[in-house]
């Protein structure tokens, strides 16, 4: 089973909301100082999904990550978890893309790899939260896709996927090759082992430039965008919480109930 997993380096989505800042003049997010970026959590779960399949039946896992200033410690985490190879699409031309230019570049890289049965992406990246790139890659490559998976098993040239819906899940069978996007319901990704970390240290990622995947710089990154950002802003929160206190927590609790009654909320 040949598997490809697309992972993205993002600003840690679990960083405290108060640390989040934007520069409205340039419509850009300012990375919070001192907070290390991470692999987008759903992408780590995608790596886990691929590892589980390899554990069960063997195979090879190639990880692709696109961007600039990719911290090796961050993007090598999938290798430390157990993935076999890492390809970085690392070039200024690849930055600040939208769903279209990102999906296009990744699809072209996957085409170059050529030999694959399953492609995994996270259900959405934890920065722009669009959730379009997986479906976009599938459409560009002409593959079937199943999104928001919590379990993936393969047998006889098909994958059986549990797809999360609003009120449960459905079991979908899809012919391979296929693209699958993964959700957190899959379960915790494994921790890298000491051995895995050492092995990852020794592995050098392959670096691909636009020419390596047969695209013009104008087709990817900012230049390849279809959408324009008119405005990026932070919603204003009112922040007028009335704290109900008391001698004891129980007293505060009674005070809260009384207050809600007075305010006709109860």
């Amino acid at each position: 089973m040949n598997m490809i997993v697309c992972v993205k380096q993002v600003i840690d989505p679990e960083a405290p909301p108060a640390s989040f800042k934007i520069d409205s003049a340039s419509n850009k997010v300012v990375p919070p100082p001192g907070v290390s970026p991470v692999i987008s959590p759903f992408d780590e779960q995608s790596v886990e999904a691929a590892l589980r399949i390899r554990d069960a039946q063997g195979g090879k896992i190639t990880v692709i990550s696109m961007g600039v200033n990719l911290l090796r410690d961050v993007v090598k985490k999938p290798l430390a978890m157990g993935a076999d190879e890492l390809i970085l699409l690392e070039d200024d031309a690849f930055t600040e893309g939208d769903s279209w230019s990102t999906a296009y570049a990744l699809a072209m890289a996957i085409k170059k790899i050529g030999d694959y049965d399953l492609i995994f992406c996270g259900r959405q990246a934890a920065d722009w939260d669009a959730g379009q790139v997986g479906s976009g890659i599938a459409e560009i490559l002409g593959l079937p896709s199943v999104t928001v998976a919590k379990k993936v098993e393969t047998a006889d040239g098909k994958a059986k996927v549990e797809r999360v819906t609003a009120d449960g899940y459905e079991v979908v069978e899809v012919s391979l090759p296929a693209l699958i996007t993964v959700s957190n319901e899959l379960g915790e990704p494994r921790y890298p082992t000491m051995k895995g970390i050492m092995a990852a240290k020794k592995k050098e990622p392959a670096i691909w430039k636009p020419a390596d995947i047969g695209v013009e710089p104008a087709q990817v990154g900012t230049a390849g965008r279809r959408t324009r950002i008119v405005k990026l802003f932070q919603p204003v929160r009112e922040g007028k919480c009335e704290i109900i206190s008391g001698e004891t927590p129980e007293e505060a609790a009674v005070g809260l109930a009384t207050k809600l009654r007075e305010a006709k909320i109860l």
């Binding site: 679990e14 405290p16 909301p17 989040f20 934007i22 769903s99 279209w100 934890a126 939260d129 669009a130 959730g131 379009q132 479906s135 976009g136 459409e139 079937p144 896709s145 999104t147 919590k150 059986k160 797809r163 999360v164 609003a166 449960g168 899940y169 459905e170 079991v171 979908v172 069978e173 899809v174 012919s175 957190n184 319901e185 279809r226 959408t227 950002i229 008119v230 405005k231 990026l232 802003f233 932070q234 919603p235 929160r237 009112e238 919480c241 704290i243 109900i244 206190s245 927590p249 129980e250 007293e251 505060a252 609790a253 809260l256 109930a257 009384t258 207050k259 809600l260 305010a263 109860l266």
Partner: protein, 332 residues
């Protein structure tokens, strides 16, 4: 070349009725169509959805396109994208709206990449730019820490809309509109998936999305038993229990209880957040609530920035006393 004109709403229905999100989309679509001076149409896809067309008209559609095909019985990416692609190519709407639902999340990007690649997902505000007449699409980004307004130049402009972000019109049974049937024209060979089984997660009591009171528990609740206590409070308030992601990931509550960016969207009169920090991703699913109340032992927790009333303390002490007092007040 023919011109793209009008607003199209893809309406989801179940058991012969429009889903609430479909009525919200029609309300929003009507306003956009009005601003453009163009028509609003509804599209229904399914095995047998003709009976819903009239309801879409009562909620504001000028026309309803119906595509019935046994192969559209279950949602499947290949069949739905192909059918909707055909409708869009025939009708040529300038704007296509869908809900940010299990279906819309999957359908919109794939349709956008097939037709002409651009869509905005999970919009909470849509407006027509008075000068360019293009659609301004505002959506939360970075887990809700920021919002961005997008626009693009090609048609159709495709957007999904978050539940409860838009208001439906009053249903007007006297409204008239044309119902047009379109053949799905599906090639069975081109459908590369098969739905083997649907497994619902049964949740007793009032549905989370419909409840007037939502009691949400977070990681700090600590156990499945802890959530039983919240259920008791919910019963007294005639509400439903929700959760942040960690309690779902830990199996204390079913996954379907998750509220937030990648869970359910709730907007009750009363939301009580207990032992949860108020991450932007969670608040994305409940910040539309009328009254947000917080119970947390950490006075610095982010939830207090969004709450109207709060108590700083251990929920294990606060919740039982609160529940008893609420019960007393409500039975007076």
């Amino acid at each position: 070349m023919a011109e793209y004109k009008g607003v199209m709403v893809y309406c989801e229905a179940a058991e012969g009725r429009l889903l609430p999100i479909a009525t919200e989309l029609l309300g929003c679509g009507k306003k956009l169509a009005g601003d453009l001076g163009e028509e609003l149409c509804a599209v229904l896809l399914g095995a047998n959805v003709s009976s819903v067309a009239q309801e879409a008209i009562t909620f504001g559609a000028d026309k309803a396109y119906v595509v019935n095909d046994p192969q559209l019985g279950d949602y499947q990416t290949d069949s739905y994208v192909a059918a909707l692609e055909k409708v869009v190519k025939e009708v040529m709407p300038q704007i296509v709206l869908m809900g940010q639902t299990s279906v819309g999340r999957d359908l919109a990007p794939r349709l956008a990449f097939r037709l002409d690649p651009a869509a905005s997902m999970d919009c909470i505000d849509l407006a027509i730019d008075p000068e360019s007449k293009r659609l301004l699409q505002t959506r939360p980004v970075y887990g809700g820490n920021a919002q961005a307004t997008f626009t693009y130049d090609s048609d159709p402009q495709i957007a999904t809309v978050r539940a409860k972000a838009m208001s439906p019109l009053e249903a007007d049974p006297s409204r008239q509109g044309e119902v047009i049937t379109i053949d799905a024209g599906l090639d069975p060979q081109a459908i590369r998936t098969r739905v083997l089984e649907k497994v619902p997660e049964e949740v007793a009591g009032i549905k989370l999305e419909d409840a007037n009171a939502v009691i949400c528990g977070g990681r700090g609740i600590g156990t499945a038993e802890g959530f039983k206590e919240l259920e008791e409070l919910a019963r007294i308030l005639k509400g439903a229990v929700g959760a942040t992601r960690p309690p779902c990931d830990n199996g204390w509550v079913p996954d379907s209880a998750q509220v937030g960016l990648t869970g359910k969207i709730v907007a009750p009169d009363l939301y009580i957040g207990i032992a949860l920090s108020g991450s932007s991703q969670h608040m994305s699913g409940c910040s539309g609530s009328k009254n947000i109340i917080a119970i947390n032992k950490d006075p610095e927790a982010n939830i207090f920035k969004e709450a109207r009333y709060g108590v700083v303390g251990d929920w294990k002490k606060v919740v039982p006393a609160f529940r008893d007092k609420v019960k007393e007040l409500l039975t007076e």
